[in-house]
């Protein structure tokens, strides 16, 4: 079967599992799941060649809702798991799903070094500016004045700027999407997965339960008016000066992905297991 035939033969539904999502009705993550399955179908990848890795949080439920291989890892460590997987099984397509709490706070350090290392995988962060699963604590991207019972008067803290940090740390592809535009998001995910190296896609995905104000995002997002650049300085200026609702591919770098030389296994696993015997 040719790659075109393979692509036409794949339908988004082929990548959905039988498990029904338990996100709140209205949650942006439903659309992100749709974008994942549409992107996989467009790429025509066999589901057994894709691995969706996640950490903890509402967004991190996503591996269960696809019928690809999945790994629902520990909080903030999805990138470490995914990096290990990709360097040892480079033939697999590795997509990592996270949220702004999991990815930027608990997993913040892994984020920096995954960008720097530039392993060929795609990191998708569903950013809703809140910890949704644990009932609405401020996350690193929460606005300083966001005032709730859990953050009286707001945190007063400057929000984290994930795209700038990704660029400065060496990510090879940077994009911002909005969950409410699943076709556009799927198209960006296709580009991100195809692009060599570490691709970072931030998806603004409203939390309708703890941030009902984010329903307004639909009217605030707008398409990036210019094509993606491979010049980090231009990209930095664009990302630093935009309003946070600029949607599209913002940076497409040409750094060579990190591919460590993996030799044949030199350790006998049964010998190794003996070391850990209690």
């Amino acid at each position: 079967m040719s790659s075109v035939d393979m692509r036409l033969a794949c339908k988004p539904a082929d990548y959905k599992s039988d498990i029904k999502p338990i996100w709140c009705p209205g949650c942006g993550d439903y659309h992100v799941l749709m974008s994942f399955t549409r992107a996989f179908a467009e790429l025509g990848l066999p589901s057994e060649d894709i691995v969706v890795v996640s950490g903890i949080g509402c967004s991190s439920r996503i591996p269960a809702y696809t019928n690809c291989y999945g790994f629902h890892g520990v909080h903030g460590r999805s990138l470490a798991l995914a990096a290990g997987l990709k360097v040892t099984r480079p033939e697999l397509t590795v997509v990592v799903a996270s949220g702004d709490g999991d990815g930027y706070s608990i997993g913040g350090n892994h984020f920096l070094h995954a960008c720097r290392r530039n392993i060929d995988m795609t990191y998708v962060v569903m950013d809703n500016h809140i910890y949704g699963m644990t009932k609405g604590q401020p996350s690193p991207t929460t606005e300083p004045e966001f005032d709730t019972a859990l953050s009286p008067g707001g945190t007063g803290l400057r929000p984290f700027h994930p795209l700038v940090i990704a660029l400065a740390s060496g990510a090879n592809f940077i994009a911002r999407c909005f969950s409410g535009e699943p076709n556009e998001t799927a198209a960006v995910l296709v580009e991100a997965i195809r692009h060599p190296g570490f691709s970072f896609v931030e998806i603004l995905s409203p939390c309708v339960t703890f941030r009902p104000d984010e329903k307004e995002w639909k009217s605030l997002v707008h398409t990036a008016p210019v094509a993606a650049t491979n010049d980090p300085a231009k990209a930095a200026r664009r990302i630093m000066t935009d309003d946070g609702f600029n949607i599209g591919i913002l940076y497409r770098g040409d750094r060579r992905p990190y591919r460590p030389a993996i030799g044949a296994a030199s350790v006998d696993l049964s010998e190794l297991e003996k070391d850990f015997e209690l």
Binding site: K20, C24, G26, Y30, G136, T148, P182, E184
Partner: protein
């Protein structure tokens, strides 16, 4: 909804049937997804409403498949029924869903979807160069206009709920 410029290009009757088929198929998927959400969140009345809407769209989808005869509209749709921006017209906005939503809200979503489909087929009529495409698109316009009227008639049975419809004294998720 996408603008006419971003909607799929329709050059032949087969293209039009494929796009019409995809619009209805997408609507079935979307209503079923909303019904699943309502099932998970224990809103049985809305489960019934969304399943009924999915069934109705499924009947339209199957009618288009019959109308297409030997043309494999599902396969052709994979090639031609692609929206550059936005989604196909009857894919109602999932962001508007709420676990306490009422039949009135569901019908409002359905109404928007039908109006978008009507506008889409009207745009095909306005721009069609092929006489066969124009004639069939006019039939779809008539059909979608009837669907819009049907939703309006159903809305008479389900008046707008009071502003307090989303108030929940014991919500499943709240800050403590």
């Amino acid at each position: 909804m996408s603008s006419a410029a971003e909607a799929p290009k329709v050059a032949t009757v087969a293209d039009l049937l494929a796009v019409a088929y995809q619009i209805e198929a997408d609507a079935v998927d979307r209503y079923d997804l909303l019904a699943d959400q309502m099932e998970t969140h224990n809103n049985p009345e809305l489960v019934r409403v969304f399943r009924d809407l999915a069934r109705a769209e499924g009947i339209h989808r199957d009618e288009i498949r019959r109308l297409a005869g030997d043309i494999d509209v599902a396969a052709h749709a994979q090639r031609v029924a692609k929206w550059q921006r936005g989604e196909s017209p009857e894919q109602v906005n999932l962001g508007e869903a709420h676990y306490l939503m009422t039949p009135w809200h569901a019908l409002q979503l359905a109404l928007v979807g039908e109006q978008h489909a009507l506008a889409y087929f009207e745009s095909v009529v306005a721009t069609a160069k092929d006489a066969g495409v124009k004639k069939m698109a006019e039939e779809f316009v008539e059909e979608e206009a009837e669907h819009v009227n049907l939703v309006h008639r159903l809305l008479r049975k389900y008046p707008e709920p009071p502003d307090s419809w989303s108030v929940d004294d014991d919500p499943p998720s709240q800050q403590e």
